[in-house]
Each structure stands twice: as C-alpha cells, then as structure tokens.
C-alpha cells in the first residue's frame, strides 16, 4: 500500500471498523450501508478527497448475500491519492442512503444506480430513471437481465416462446 494512503485507511478503519482488500496498489474499504454518509463526509472534510470519481455497482448474482457491491471511487487532488469504498448489499430490496449532500455528482450517478441495478436510493432529490425510458421494466445491468438474445425456438417449445415474444400480434 502507498504509505500516504495508510493514515486514510486507518482513519476509516478506526471509526467504522471497516475491513480492506488490496490489489495492484489499490485499496478497497468495506463499510456498512448505514455508515456511508458519515464515511464520505469524513473522507471529504478530513482527508481531502475532493472528487467522487465514480459511483457504480457490481452484481454478483446468483450469490444472494451480498448480491451487490455499491462502489464509490474517490480521488484526492491535494494528496494525489485514490481510494475505493464498497458497500455490500443483500439481494432482497437493496437500499443505500443518498450522498448527494456530500458530493453533488452523486445525483446522476445514483439515478443510474437506480435505473441500471434497481438499487433504491433513500432520500434522493430526483429519483427518476436516467438512461432507460420511464416505462421500462427491469434493470439492465443486473446479471439476471438477459442481454437481448433471441431464444431459439424448436418444435417442442415454439408456441410457449412465441407467446412471450414482444412483436406485434393480430
């Protein structure tokens, strides 16, 4: 680990009991969902991480607990450091608190989270879908959402698949 990053990791560990993983000099800290706003405020105000570079998630389906990791990637311009915070969430009604009050860029990123993963963001000022149309059903980046291949129809299951095919019928 970069030795300038050690005090940052230690501060988060001491305050939130976070565990961490390291890979190719990158540090991922794991915190609990209810601690996220506090942890981000600490990072921004005390550790000078001015930029929330990315906010996204990973779906580990079919694993159920945790099914998602919500990922917050930070950059500190003053110290030239990066750190990542991950929040593991379970598959049934995944929910995080909004961090728009800490970083304004989280607004659109959290809408994307809602749109693409169906992770509910509590207290979001504008909880609409962002990329998909408003009436879209499903969350495309979930692993159980099909990529869009057509199911092959054989004689034995032709009618069954034909019934749920989304083309115009008479």
């Amino acid at each position: 680990m970069n030795k300038n990053l050690e005090p940052v990791v230690k501060a988060i560990q001491d305050k939130f009991g976070a565990t961490y993983e390291e890979f190719r000099d990158e540090v991922h800290l794991f915190v609990k969902p209810e601690q996220i706003v506090e942890a981000l405020t600490l990072l921004r105000d005390e550790q000078e991480f001015e930029l929330l570079s990315a906010l996204t998630a990973t779906d580990y389906w079919p694993q159920e607990s945790p099914r998602f990791h919500v990922i917050y990637q930070f950059t500190s311009l003053a110290k030239n450091l990066s750190v990542q915070i991950r929040v593991p969430l379970n598959g049934s009604s995944p929910k995080v608190q909004t961090v728009t009050a800490v970083y304004a860029s989280a607004n659109w990123r959290e809408r994307e989270l809602l749109d693409m993963f169906g992770i509910e963001v509590e207290g979001h000022p504008d909880p609409r879908r962002i990329l998909m149309p408003d009436d879209h059903v499903g969350h495309p980046l979930r692993k159980d959402y099909p990529l869009g291949y057509e199911e092959p129809q054989f004689t034995f299951n032709f009618d069954e698949i034909d019934l749920r095919k989304p083309y115009a019928k008479e």
Partner: protein, 409 residues
C-alpha cells in the same frame, strides 16, 4: 395533447420553480433534435422571457448498453465497443481500455508501443479539440471556423487511416501493445502536420480570440467556481479553466508521459472564455508532445512477447505449433483475468476517462464500468446556466464540450 403536457409537468414538478406551476414561466423543450445540443440531448428549459430559470437535461437517447455488451465478450473482443463510446476520442478510449486490461492481468508494453500510443492519443486530442472549436464557432455563428477546423482534422484522420485502416473506429491499441507497426509513411505524415499546424492555430486565434463579438458572447458567461466543479465531479479543461491544476498526464503519468516536457494550461476565470483559452493552449501543448514523442520514438517490437495474453504474429503461425495453439486459444477462448477489480484512469480531451474492470477468473469481465467525463461535466450544466439567456446556454453547452456517446454509453 394537453393531457401529455400535464403528465410531463407532474413528473418534473420537484425540479421547476413554483412559477412554472402557475404558468407564469414557460417550459420549453430544446432538443433532442437541435443542432446546438451536439447530439441527441434534450433540455427542458424553464424560461422567464428569455432568461433560463431552470434547465433539466434529459439523457439516454443514445444509450446502447455498451457496459452490458462488454460483459458478454472476451477481453480482446470487448475492445471494439470502446470505440463507439466517445466517437471524437476513439484512440483515447482504446488506450483507457487496454491500460485497464494490462493493469488487471499485469502485462508489460514495449517502449515503441508506448511512444506510438502517446503520439496517436495526442493527435486524437487535437482532432477532438478541433471538432469542439469548429462546432462551438458554429454555435456562435462563426461559420468559417468549422470549415478550417475540419480541414486540419481530416489530416489527422488520414494519419489514423494510415496506421489502422480506419478513420474513426480504429481499435489500433491492443492489450500488450498496438495492432501492428506503423507504415513508413507515418513519420512524414506526422511531421507534415507538426509543420503546418502551429500556423493554423495562430490563424484560428486571429479569427476568434480577440474578436469583440466573440468576446462579448463568451466573457463572464457560465461561471463555474472551483468548489462547484469539484463537487459535481467536473474534470478536464473545464476544471482547469476554474483554476484547478489537475491533469492525469502530469499527476499520475502513464505511457511514459513523464519523459515529455509540456505544460498544463490553467485559468482562474472559470467562464466560457477561460475554457476556450485552455483548450486553445492545449492544442499547442499536445503538438509539443507529439513532436517530442516522434523524435524519441525507439525502434523495437510493438507488441508484448507474453504469449499467454498476446497472439503471436501471423508469420509464426505457419512454422510453429505453439504459435498456432496460442493463436487459436486466444481468439476462441480468450485469456483468463484474476478475480479482482481495478480502476484505471486516463486524461481524455474531456477529462478523466476511467474504467472499473472486474474479472471473475474467466475470460470475460464480470463488470465493466465506464467512468466517462462528459456524464459528470453535463451534470453541472443546470447549475451554471441559471440566470443566463437561451443564446448563452448554447455557448455554455459548447464550452463544456460534451459528446453524447460518452454520456449515454
């Protein structure tokens, strides 16, 4: 008709002011078919006369599910998707992707390939800035700028065609190096460009920089403070025009950028004109990098020799059984990457372009997230246009230089 309007207002109720609900201010759609939105972007504007009270960007018209598609392809095959992201910066996108893959599997790149990558991404940066300069001139009614800029851009695209066979969707950089070595005509083509381009930048500046009409439209328009920019995650020239000296090529050098002598242009005014000046200076700095990289370009291999990740050259396949096996395995099965996640960022013409790449131990990525600069840069738009005229909105939108393919992914 009236029913549709009511429904849409209901949806945006929390984003517009009270006066919009009583009908005192007007709601107007700008786009998605509008020449000044630089693509398919819809802006819902709340107008008081000609003054913008609120601006609600609506994106997603160009969403093609690139992230999802990349997750279903092997690491080599997913690369072609990155060209289609930010179509003004194809080389830069390729670079971001191959660097992420190289970091994930820990693959070395030969020095000549690094040099070629630097030359081509900097040329791409110039081409991208030229499109920005041309189109923002067009938005402010300076028609001739567009024609001049596209003339020079054409020359860069010809160089790309020379090296990769494609003008735009290049896919020239590959994990472990580049596709193949550049042809002999490459050096002359780049030298020709280096020779003529400084004069051309002066020409653009004569037309615009001191032009009173242009200055009237640009100065003190769309002020973006340092704090707002950082909070909204704005990066690239827009951030540097607000007084933050942050360029990943300097702060965290990759591809050997530390060997080259260049400045990071910054401004403190934070307005549209400052963003214009920063990009004009960047044209000159990029050209300096291209020249130095071309002078220093070493001879040697352009692809890594690590056969577990990089296919062997075609000439070897006919004579070596191992080469044939490697070729076959790499193009059918792909190479496995560790079960881990990395975040790798480069400086694109628009800001921090990064990939979060997560492997699952197999030949396909578990998760690819593209952190695209335009997405965050557009997020700040509704903040900085408040109180400006609709005509100024066009200038501001041009100055933050968005590409919709980059936003919608």
């Amino acid at each position: 008709m009236s029913q549709i309007e009511e429904v849409s207002l209901e949806k945006f109720k929390h984003l517009v002011s009270e006066r919009a609900l009583t009908g005192e201010t007007m709601l107007l759609n700008m786009g998605p078919q509008h020449p000044s939105t630089h693509g398919v972007l819809r802006l819902l504007l709340e107008l008081d006369g000609e003054v913008v009270v609120n601006c609600i960007p609506d994106i997603g018209f160009l969403h093609t599910g690139i992230e999802k598609n990349m997750e279903a392809k092997t690491y080599q095959k997913a690369e072609v998707m990155t060209d289609r992201l930010d179509y003004m910066n194809t080389m830069g996108n390729n670079l971001a992707y191959v660097m992420a893959v190289e970091k994930l599997v820990d693959l070395d790149v030969p020095a000549r390939a690094q040099g070629l990558r630097v030359i081509l991404t900097e040329l791409q940066r110039i081409a991208s800035h030229l499109v920005w300069l041309g189109t923002s001139g067009l938005d402010l009614a300076a028609m001739s700028m567009f024609l001049y800029c596209f003339r020079e851009r054409e020359q860069i695209l010809d160089i790309f065609e020379l090296v990769s066979g494609q003008r735009m969707m290049t896919t020239y950089f590959r994990p472990g190096g580049v596709w193949r070595d550049v042809p002999v005509e490459f050096e002359k083509a780049v030298r020709d460009f280096i020779k003529i381009f400084p004069k051309r930048i002066d020409e653009y500046e004569t037309l615009l920089t001191k032009n009173p009409l242009f200055i009237d439209r640009m100065v003190d328009i769309g002020y973006l403070s340092k704090e707002t920019a950082l909070s909204y995650g704005v990066t690239g020239p827009a951030l540097r025009a607000s007084g933050v000296d942050w360029d990943l090529r300097k702060a965290r050098p990759y591809c050997g950028y530390e060997q080259y002598d260049f400045n990071v242009p910054t401004r403190t005014e934070g307005d549209t004109y400052a963003r214009y000046l920063v990009r004009i200076d960047e044209l000159r700095e990029s050209l300096r990098i291209v020249e130095q990289a071309l002078n220093k370009l070493p001879l040697g291999p352009v692809r890594s020799e690590n056969r577990k990740f990089v296919p062997p050259p075609r000439s070897e396949i006919g004579v070596s059984m191992e080469a044939l096996i490697h070729h076959f395995k790499l193009w059918t099965e792909g190479f496995p990457a560790p079960k881990a996640s990395i975040y790798s960022a480069v400086e694109s013409p628009r800001g921090e372009l990064a990939l979060m790449l997560e492997g699952d131990g197999g030949p396909k990525p578990l998760r690819v997230h593209l952190r695209t600069p335009s997405f965050d840069n557009l997020g700040v738009l509704s903040e900085i246009v408040k109180g400006h005229l609709v005509a100024d909105l066009v200038a501001i939108l041009a100055s933050i230089d968005i590409v919709l393919g980059d936003i919608d992914r």
